[in-house]
Amino acid sequence: MEFIETVDLKRTFGDIVAVEDLNLRIREGEVFAFLGPNGAGKTTTVRMLTTLIHPTSGKAYIGGNEVGREPDSMNIRAMTGFLPEAPGLYERLSAARNLDFYGRLYGVPESRRKARIEELLKWIGLWKRRDSPVATFSKGMRQKIAIVRAMVHDPQILFLDEPTAGLDPSAAKTVRDFLVDLGSMGKTIFLNTHNLSEAERVSTRIGVVSTQLLAQGTPKELAARYLKPASVFRLREATEDVVQAVDALDFVEEVHVEDGELHVSLEDPQKGNPAIAKAVIAAGGEIEFIVEKEMGLEEVYLRLLEDAA
């Protein structure tokens, strides 16, 4: 069942088109990474989906509620948790008071609220500092509090906008581990990020966006769809004769030398590799080892953005 659905969603600011023709389908329990460079329209999309701003055209539905229509928008706000790019905590108030405030606004009953705050603060290891003003916390700690703030009412869906932006590597790792935990809890998570490894590690599916949705699928699906298979031949010396010999083979689509290794793109590596090996040896090359080239998200991402540009 689609939990988040957008149909030709568009948002402009004056003459600037921030998001266009956005068609997304995200199932319940999915961790969906919305990947794109700065200015790609990720934050605008999340703001539309969390009912903070209206779409210029198109429609969006969250759990069957239409974005921008009352009382649907109020239902959407009640069923979603939102972490904006900046934590936006009340620095003079304690961690517990911050969570209590949001718990009240989300209508969590007092008995449940207290237990929930304790549970969440213990989960992120800040229960002992529950009464300390947020101003005394590190950036990573604040980000964790901001994340559990979005969860205080146990929402069905979480929108997280760049949760690790601006954090040092250690704090970013803590938050990323935290997101993996969240994903394993079965929450539907919409994760805005421009961090490829974060998207790859945390999400079950990825959407690449640059104003328009360029592609969506699992990292492997995207790699299979957008990248050709390749074999890497590690040679003692990659001479010009060897390159020409391999390039002369009919089934080889592309060949180039990278860090002394021969990268060969071809339709079926299993079938073609023995013939390539023969050609290399015949041209005087000495093979040290052959491996299948790993197709990472980075290649897919850069390729998609390159094509879009």
């Binding site: 903070l52 939102f82 009340y90 108030l93 606004l105 703030r149």
Partner: protein
């Protein structure tokens, strides 16, 4: 409008104010200094020169000399009867002075009747139905007679002090609203707040309530302190507690809250248009102008400051408040604020 949501917002705001020393200082120091300093600085000198109501039991012997229609300079006059004269730079002791003018004179143990006193020191004497008294110190010297005029002057003066208790509720929200709205903007806390299932009306009402309650608490507390202090200082000399008059009651109970509300709504509008705390405070402080305008009108003889005129002004202010509240709600557009606030 769900009141519990608005109250949640208000309680959070007030908790933040409690931990903000700038807000606390403004909230406590400004009203309390007016409540304490004003009576001590302005009312106490009046009280010291006010009639005690009871003349001193002076039993003067028959005069040794009688002076009438003369101008005396640098003289020492003891046990004299002086009338229709002008006396400068002299000392008068145990004498009776009638219908004369004293300039730079020291008087002790005498009876001054219908006398104009300038730049003089009067000790242990009875001042009966005096003319003008200026630049003089009356020490243990009751003014006997002419009380009604004196009381009127005192009450008029006290009414003008009301201005401060109308300015306080107009001025405090300028500071608090700037922290409340612009602070939210600077803190980047508005986005998650607007993502909660809370309406604009609930948010605005909660924030307004958080400003209104402490503002009126501080105003009324300082008003009560001022009234108690003034009564303490003036009751012994006037023979009655001069405050609160009906004018004071109407102004404190009706006008002050209305000015506070006007200030809050105006500041909501201002702070949703600016992104700097100081700019918000400076613009917001302009709301005190209508309060000053109200108290200028009696000075130009346009109105007489009293319960009826204040009630009329309050009625007009109520109408303005309704319009301003409507405007504040209309102008608080979450989408515009999120998109345009940097």
């Amino acid at each position: 409008m769900r009141f519990e949501k608005a109250w949640t917002v208000a309680a959070k705001e007030m908790a933040e104010f409690r931990s903000n020393k700038y807000v606390l200082i403004t909230l406590l120091l400004l009203p309390l200094s007016m409540a304490v300093v004003m009576p001590l600085a302005l009312v106490l000198p009046i009280a010291s020169q006010a009639p005690s109501g009871e003349p001193l039991p002076l039993d003067l012997p028959p005069p040794d000399m009688t002076i009438q229609g003369e101008t005396l300079v640098d003289r020492v006059l003891v046990n004299a009867s002086i009338s229709d004269s002008v006396i400068r730079g002299s000392v008068i002791r145990d004498s009776r002075v009638m219908n004369s003018t004293l300039v730079g004179v020291t008087v002790e143990g005498s009876i001054l009747e219908g006398v104009t006193i300038k730049n003089s020191v009067i000790r242990g004497s009875n001042v009966i139905e005096p003319g003008e008294i200026s630049g003089s110190n009356l020490v243990n010297s009751p003014i006997v007679g002419g009380e009604s005029e004196f009381v009127n002057v005192i009450l008029l003066l006290l009414d003008t002090f009301l201005l401060f208790f109308v300015i306080i509720p107009a001025a405090i929200p300028a500071l608090m609203a700037s922290y409340s709205f612009v602070g939210e903007k600077l803190n980047k806390s508005l986005e998650p707040l607007l993502a909660t299932p809370t309406t604009d009306g609930e948010l605005l009402f909660g924030k307004a309530l958080a400003i209104f309650l402490p503002t009126m608490g501080a105003t009324w507390l300082s008003g009560v302190i001022f009234i108690l202090l003034v009564n303490l200082l003036l009751e012994p000399t006037l023979g009655f507690a001069p405050l609160p008059t009906p004018t004071w009651l109407v102004a404190l109970v009706l006008l002050a809250p209305l000015f506070a509300t006007l200030s809050i709504t105006a500041n909501v509008i201002i702070s949703s248009r600016v992104s700097d705390v100081r700019a918000s405070q400076q613009l917001g402080a302009l709301v005190v102008l209508p309060a000053i305008f109200l108290f200028m009108l009696p000075l130009f003889g346009v109105i007489t400051l009293g319960p009826v005129s204040i009630l009329g002004f309050a009625g007009g202010l109520l109408g303005v408040n309704v319009v301003m509240a409507f405007l504040a709600l209309r102008l608080f557009r979450r989408e515009e604020i999120l998109v345009s606030w940097k």
